[in-house]
């Protein structure tokens, strides 16, 4: 999703620790006990593994060399076997039962945390790719990341124990052996290099992969199907696919050899220098000088390899913490983000009155052009006003400002004479009903889609009334469960799917479910046919007798009904007045209206 190029940022060691601790604390809150249990399980595994393998082998082989008989050795073998079985019984309780439950609890905690935050973040954040990237990551990865942090901690414990136990064993056999551990320590440096190379490779290939994905989509998604069959555009797409593949290959060639070299070095340092080196030394001590017991020699051979790889993997785990920290940094930014549009502490109760825009200008963050320039618009308590104008004149942005989805860059918006920033955001928005062209149908019941809030007793009547008014009741009554029918095929193959026009009717129904101070319609009828549009407007006008109404429409025929019309052009109010006044002005509106009416009006003349 993110199209910004990632850089491998660096965090200070302190921040890395603090971030991981932050996550662990949250996880502890989300599912208490989970971290401790997992660490205990890993620790037990590490200990038992050491004893039932290295220690047992040493015990048995040295015992044989010392001439012990089978009866003396058997109790230890069987004992270790039983120890293992006990561990398994405990371990499986964790893996097969509790870890699943714990995970779900954590998911509930974390997802709700981020969703709640997400709903508060203002709309402008969606347009900021950096922030959006953080936002998406927070939503998608938080739970699994928390799991990974806990897992990394457990892994470190596991490896730490194994390291300590094996090192102690080597120490008791021959301290010189520890010298061979220099090689895996060297390898840690290579690990870092190799990770960096992989990361660079990944970062570069993101773009190439995205291109591939895009072209593939054009070949299989239904929305492209018609054009792909009817035109030659497929050859363009296929050429681009090929180019993207070549790009990906170039990246592999660029980084592949380097990555191979680092990994080769790691392998040679660990399996040849450390393991075979120590083996050679142990064999020398056993055969040439006779300083080492046979069993000890065997243990050295297996322990040194385990030890080398543990050092290598601990390095891996520590690098993982760095990676976690980067991610958590992201999450913390997201959670700490203070929404810019929020209720002021000393807010005042909502008052009824006119909505007024005074000298409002607006530009989107990070852009240099004002989308709206010095706008003055007024909508009285029960007035109907229309916003008309070309595409891109700024009508939809204006509506978003009225709903306080954005705050004006300069100038102010007032309701009943008070700056809208002085009201509570929730209360203020609650007094509006807005219907957008791109209304989204949720995979919830019809009722919930109409109410857009959890249902309560007595809602049935409201929903029925609203559907009736918006002209959707006939369609809904045909559905198998009426207003309880779940919409979309998201979860149910036989779910109800609405057509464009039906969707709009449903969206409009929402406006009929509550008392509004203002109703805002952003081209709500573009997908409706003329008759449905006509009925809808009539119902709407009736329902809005006691509230203000602001509507955007391309069809000027509906603008005629407005008390006042604002014609927007390039972000400015070019003309304003009633239909009659504007026609008399004989300016842009009149021109536009005539062009559109031309065909209809000729009929009148006949």
């Amino acid at each position: 999703m993110s199209k910004t190029k990632q850089k491998k940022e660096k965090l200070s060691l302190r921040r890395t620790c603090s971030n991981n601790v932050f996550m662990l604390k949250l996880l502890h809150k989300a599912s208490p006990g989970r971290i401790a249990i997992e660490i205990a399980v890993f620790a037990a595994e590490s200990i038992v593994e050491f004893f039932s393998w290295q220690y047992l082998l040493r015990y048995v082989v040295n015992g044989i060399e010392e001439g012990k008989d089978i009866a003396a050795l058997m109790p230890m073998v069987i004992g270790m076997c039983l120890l293992n079985i006990a561990l398994i019984a405990v371990k499986c309780i964790w893996y097969e039962i509790y870890s699943g439950i714990f995970y779900q609890n954590a998911a509930r905690f974390f997802q709700k945390l981020v969703y709640r935050k997400a709903a508060k973040v203002e709309l402008a954040c969606y347009e900021n790719p950096d922030f959006y990237d953080k936002y998406v990551k927070a939503l998608n990865e938080t739970t699994s990341r928390a799991d990974k942090v806990a897992n990394s901690v457990s892994m470190v414990v596991y490896q730490g124990i194994s390291l300590a136990a094996n090192a102690a064993l080597l120490l008791t056999i021959d301290p010189i052996l520890l010298l061979f551990l220099i090689f895996p320590l060297f390898a840690i440096f290579f690990v870092k290099q190799s990770k960096q190379t992989d990361f660079d490779k990944y970062t570069e290939s993101v773009v190439a992969n995205r291109k591939c994905e895009y072209t593939r989509r054009t070949f299989y998604l239904s929305e492209y199907a018609k054009e792909m069959r009817l035109t030659g555009i497929h050859s363009v797409m296929f050429r681009r696919f090929g180019e993207a593949i070549e790009e990906a290959k170039k990246i592999i060639r660029k980084y592949g050899f380097r990555s191979a070299a680092w990994n080769y070095l790691i392998e040679i340092f660990i399996s040849v220098f450390a393991t075979l080196g120590a083996t050679g030394y142990a064999v020398y001590q056993t055969l040439a000088t006779g300083n080492m017991l046979y069993g000890d020699c065997l243990v050295v051979i297996s322990a040194i390899s385990i030890l080398s790889w543990s050092i290598f993997s601990s390095a891996d785990s520590f690098i993982a913490f760095e990676e976690h920290a980067l991610y958590i940094e992201n999450l913390r930014h997201f959670l700490d983000y203070e929404p810019k549009i929020k209720t002021a502490e000393n807010h005042i109760p909502l008052k009824k009155g006119a909505l007024e825009l005074c000298d409002v200008s607006f530009r989107y963050d990070g852009t240099e052009k004002d989308v709206l320039k010095h706008i003055n618009i007024k909508c009285g308590e029960n007035e109907k006003i229309a916003l008309v104008g070309h595409n891109g004149a700024g009508k939809s942005t204006l509506v978003k400002l009225m709903l306080r989805l954005y705050d004006a860059t300069s100038g102010k918006i007032t309701l009943a004479g008070e700056d809208i920033r002085r009201y509570s955001v929730e209360e203020y928005r609650e007094s509006f009903s807005a219907v957008f062209q791109d209304f989204h149908v949720f995979s919830l019941s019809v009722s919930e889609n109409v109410l857009l809030r959890p249902t309560q007793n007595g809602d049935e009547e409201k929903v029925r009334y609203a559907l009736e008014k918006s002209g959707a009741s006939e369609r809904v009554s045909e559905m198998p469960h009426g207003t309880d029918t779940i919409l979309t095929r998201e979860f149910d193959k036989n779910g109800e799917v609405l057509s464009g026009g039906e969707t709009q009717k449903l969206a409009i129904a929402h406006a009929f479910t509550k008392e509004n101070m203002f109703v805002i319609l952003d081209e709500p009828t573009s997908a409706l046919d003329p008759i449905a549009e006509h009925e809808m407007y009539q119902n709407m006008m009736e329902a809005c007798k006691n509230c203000g109404m602001i509507f955007i429409s391309h069809r000027l025929s509906s603008a005629v009904m407005a008390d006042r019309i604002y014609l927007l052009e390039n972000g400015e109010v070019a003309e304003c007045g009633t239909h009659e006044e504007l026609m008399a002005l004989n300016g842009k509106y009149a021109d536009m209206f005539r062009k559109q009416a031309e065909n209809y009006v000729e009929t009148e003349a006949e």
Partner: protein
């Protein structure tokens, strides 16, 4: 989204084998080197495992026999040299060549998949099951095929290794191999049981995962950001989320006991096996004295290695089942024979298009019934009617994206099925309501084909006809401006109206005698719409044009208007004739005109 069906069906062992072979053949056909390297790597790894074990045995034997150090160190040095060479190949292959081969295969296999996808009848897209499978099979094709090849390498590696290691084991003591085998069989049975339980659990989880994914999407996507902020719908979503988590916990609990016991049994089996082997070797060493101390140590080591290999081998076989399911879908897709078959007649210049007794149904539901009309060269025809009256479907039939259920469509008096499909479609210029802008240059979008300098005139004139020139002048790279940000972060994103103009320009860029416009002006503002309509009529003076619109002002100048209702053609004639008839059309027209008329009278 689509990965939900992946393990819902059961599949037989024979089919698994066949499907895996099918995929291999496919890969072999496109990238023989890749397959060869996969197999080679597998064999080398297998041998490597055996070398490791054999080396340990020799080493322990020599230690046990107290051989001179010089002799032993030679073996160790040999191993060092061997590793140095082996790892060189290993990392070269995995870090460089494997990736390159994957890309090569991806490219070659997609040229086939894409071609096939384009042949697919549009009707297939209406069948959600087929469509899901189809999207899934293309979507997964890269990952799956590569994974399967790599898994194949590993499978070969495990088989070679298991065989070789077993041979080493037999040289130590034949009975050991028998013990290991016995335990392995028991474990396989347990593991298969576990796999079954896991599968059932995954099935229970699927719909719940889909639900949480959906809720996540609702909070993530900009589409519903407005609703989330302006209404309380987020509370509905959160309570759904809460419910789903509880259900998920229920699923975890439901299978916990079975999974617990099967897991425990499997693990214990492995432990008992290790213990039994050690005791057996101890017995042989100390009581019957039939093996040496070196054999004992090597035996323990080898058994440990073998049991790991066998466990892994089992996992891989289970996994290959997954691949097989995937291949099943891929095969269905590749084997799909388009129902729309091309004829071989080359279409001549357009004279007439006639629809006779046409019926069309999606499944049970009849969308169009008994449609009859004829369009002659030079006609300007309008299709009008309510939403869902079947107008767009009719256009799709005329374009031969579907074939009628009954009745026929005649182009120049000949059934369109007899024409070469691509050539026939190329005769008609169409813009659909749900046109798409592709991530390529403006020129390529207009031509809907490859662009070269000599086509510049065509592109420019088409864009000026669709009223895009003004916007074009503001773009630095002119017609070579890259659209969308898919390929370039500097790409231009067009607004809805602008995009529509580019889409409309497509029609003007093609020298077609017959143009079909499916509500081309719905996203345009009044002035653009006005200009566009004029422009279309002007340029298309000699051409035949079919409009679809529910704005009747757009269609009123048509030579003939066809009014559709619920899949039937209910009225037809000129605007005047239909107005005189005072039927449905007149009612609809008056309704729309009324407001304009009122507005104009107020002058």
């Amino acid at each position: 989204m689509m990965n939900t069906q992946n393990n819902e069906k059961k599949i037989k062992t024979g089919a698994i084998l066949r499907n895996n072979i099918f995929l291999l053949k496919l890969a072999w056909k496109y990238t023989p080197l890749y397959v060869t390297l996969c197999v080679l790597e597998g064999v080398l790894w297998g041998v490597n495992n055996a070398v490791d074990v054999y080396y340990t045995k020799i080493l322990f034997d020599m230690l046990g026999r107290n051989e001179p150090f010089e002799k032993v160190i030679k073996i160790i040095i040999f191993m060092a040299a061997y590793y140095a060479v082996f790892w060189l190949f290993h990392y070269w292959y995995w870090k460089v060549q494997n990736g390159l081969e994957q890309k090569k295969l991806q490219y070659r296999i997609h040229s086939k998949l894409f071609e096939k996808a384009r042949e697919l009848d549009l009707a297939c897209y209406d069948n959600p099951e087929f469509y899901n499978d189809f999207v899934w099979s293309i979507n997964e094709s890269d990952g799956r095929i590569n994974k399967q090849l790599n898994d194949l390498g590993k499978l070969i590696n495990r088989i070679v290794a298991s065989l070789l290691v077993t041979t080493v084991l037999v040289t130590i003591h034949p009975l050991l191999a028998v013990i290991i085998l016995a335990f392995t069989v028991i474990r396989i049975v347990l593991q298969m049981q576990k796999a079954k339980v896991d599968h059932a659990r995954a099935l229970d989880f699927n719909p719940l995962d889909r639900k949480t994914d959906y809720i996540n999407r609702m909070f993530r996507l900009a589409d519903c950001a407005k609703e989330i902020r302006l209404t309380h719908v987020s509370e509905n979503l959160l309570s759904e989320y809460e419910k789903t988590i509880e259900e998920k916990k229920g699923v975890v609990r439901k299978y916990a006991k079975k999974r617990y016991f099967l897991s425990i049994a499997t693990w214990i089996m492995m432990n008992v096996a290790d213990g039994a082997v050690m005791l057996f070797l101890l017995y042989e060493l100390l009581v019957t004295k039939s093996i040496a101390l070196g054999d004992f140590a090597a035996g323990v080591n080898t058994v440990w290695r073998l049991s790991w290999l066998l466990r892994d081998l089992m996992d891989r076989i289970v996994k290959s089942k997954e691949h097989a399911l995937y291949v099943d879908k891929l095969r269905t897709f590749l084997a799909y024979e388009p129902k729309l078959t091309s004829g071989d007649v080359t279409p001549e210049a357009f004279r007439s298009l006639e629809v006779r007794g046409l019926h069309f149904a999606y499944g049970e539901e009849e969308i169009l019934s008994d449609i009859n009309f004829k369009i002659e060269q030079g006609d300007k025809v309008a299709f009008v009617g309510y939403n869902g009256a079947g107008k767009t479907t009719l256009i799709k039939l005329l374009m031969r994206l579907y074939d009628p259920t009954s009745g026929e469509i005649l182009y120049n008096g000949r059934n369109i099925k007899e024409y070469d499909l691509a050539a026939y479609r190329a005769c008609i210029g169409t813009v659909f309501q749900d046109y798409k802008i592709f991530a390529s240059t403006i020129a390529e979008n207009v031509l809907a084909d490859e662009y070269s300098e000599d086509k510049k005139e065509t592109v420019l004139s088409a864009l000026s006809k669709s009223a895009f020139s003004e916007k074009l002048a503001t773009l630095e790279n002119g017609v070579e401006t890259e659209l969308t940000r898919e390929f370039s972060s500097e790409g231009t994103e067009l607004s809805g109206g602008e995009a529509q103009k580019v889409a409309i320009a497509r029609v003007f860029a093609r020298p077609c005698d017959l143009l079909i416009m499916d509500e081309p002006s719905s996203a345009l503002d009044p002035i653009s719409e006005y200009n566009l309509n004029h422009s279309i009529l002007e340029t298309a003076e000699a051409q035949t044009v079919v409009f679809i619109s529910h704005r009747l002002s757009t269609t009123r100048h048509a030579d003939k208007i066809y009014m559709f209702e619920s899949g039937k053609l209910i009225e037809q004639g000129t605007h005047e004739a239909l107005m005189a008839k005072d039927g449905k059309y007149a009612y609809m027209f008056n309704l729309q005109a009324k407001k304009y008329a009122e507005g104009n009278h107020s002058l």
